[in-house]
Symmetry: C2
Subunit: 297 residues, 2 copies
Amino acid sequence: MAASSNEKDRPVVGFIGTGVMGGSMAGHLIDAGYSLNVYNRTASKCEPLVKKGAKLHSSPGEAAAASDIVITIVGFPKDVEQVYLEPGGIVERAKPGSLLIDMTTSSPELAVRIYDAARSKGLGTCDAPVTGGDRGAREATLSILVGGTDEDFNRALPLFETMGKNIVHFGPAGFGQRAKLANQIIIAGTMLGMCEGLAYAKKSGIDTQRLYDCIVSGSAGSWSFTNYTPRILKEDFNPGFFVKHFVKDMRLASQSSQEAGLSLKGLETALEQYIELENEGYAENGTQSLYKLYCKD
Amino acid sequence: MAASSNEKDRPVVGFIGTGVMGGSMAGHLIDAGYSLNVYNRTASKCEPLVKKGAKLHSSPGEAAAASDIVITIVGFPKDVEQVYLEPGGIVERAKPGSLLIDMTTSSPELAVRIYDAARSKGLGTCDAPVTGGDRGAREATLSILVGGTDEDFNRALPLFETMGKNIVHFGPAGFGQRAKLANQIIIAGTMLGMCEGLAYAKKSGIDTQRLYDCIVSGSAGSWSFTNYTPRILKEDFNPGFFVKHFVKDMRLASQSSQEAGLSLKGLETALEQYIELENEGYAENGTQSLYKLYCKD
């Protein structure tokens, strides 16, 4: 436990994935006094953390081998599967007794597979996706939706408390992902309604700024409407939340809801529309760009 | 102007449709000192207003003939068409120079037809649907979305101010209806996402109360989520807003959006789901009962 010699009671933390979200979250852990072993596919994104004292590693497995608790927040389920389950990956190389926490929004089924693989090696796991976006990550106000055993949750809690405000344990492995997917299904319908309503107003000759001012506090109001409609009205389609990531989340939700015996027509419609939006070149834009599918001019 | 002899400068108001919404709204006008001529298909619903001094009439046309300004808030576009345009109806019997205000959520195209018919007889019109529900009607906090000429809007404004707080003039005849339909399209997606997300959570074994508490203030939050999810969690499917009325609004929105050259897949999906809900016997329930389409047990 080289990196933690000066912090006797604190676990050393491996942090895999130091992008927009992970970079801020890892920074809070350093600020709270944790020693960090970091890895990112694009190593340059670790630089700010290395300047603050984190040790850079050349693979997720290597960072895990040097740590007591490993946190991952990477892009897609295939990345999660790779960093945990491939030969030389986290599960293979983590020290006995380590705790592995995946904060990527990923598949409930994969969270259970990682839990099973980890348990057979004497490792604990949590699935702990977040909501609150880059701002929540920066300001340490994330909501963290957690699946795992009580023991693993309690062990992870002090770390979660440095990164978020609203930390909820939903059940065993996979339940953090399920709660997060429920959240994304709700947002899918909300974004769809918002973009279609604005498009209808625009095409109907309604002053959309006036409409926004009139109805934002009423029964059509939502977090999405408050936060995204002003951007749409300014033709600002830069990403707060990437279309490609939302499509990923909706695909996961679609699969998981079908496994639960549900046919969620609204979700499927939103997913189809966002895939069409991706096909029109908006994958790297923000989710509010769905409006452009209806109002191209 | 018999009924107004004691209120020299105030127009006499005909009020057609004194149900849950109209009853409260008409009451505010009486409280503000207006003399009212009232009509309702079920005459007994006029009783509270008659006790406060309103004069009961036996037809919309008769109430209109005795008034300077006529307000209607009835159920469906076919009712609007009937009370205004049928022989012996409001347009035929209104006094020259009268102002006709329809506050039903109805068709933009019908609002323009009524405007045209009225103008040819020297009458003014506004289309002025509301949002805010029975509570907004009771507390005089409705939002009122208005279409009409500037002159007609300004003439109606003092009456609107006795019934609502947030009164916005969106443009000429039909534009109040268009703004309201945009509002309903936004709500359609929001309700769809909310009910599907809750159903997924429930079927996945997530504690839905815990989920609500965790995410209601976050990016999945909305007026609908705040107000309807607690009712769903208590299995309270009583109407705040009737399924049958929401289906009517979405049909209007679907028609109007197609006329505007739009194909709103989310709206069409929400409409299909709510029609299915109607077919399962929920027409007289509240819109939150969409949840039951996914979670029947």
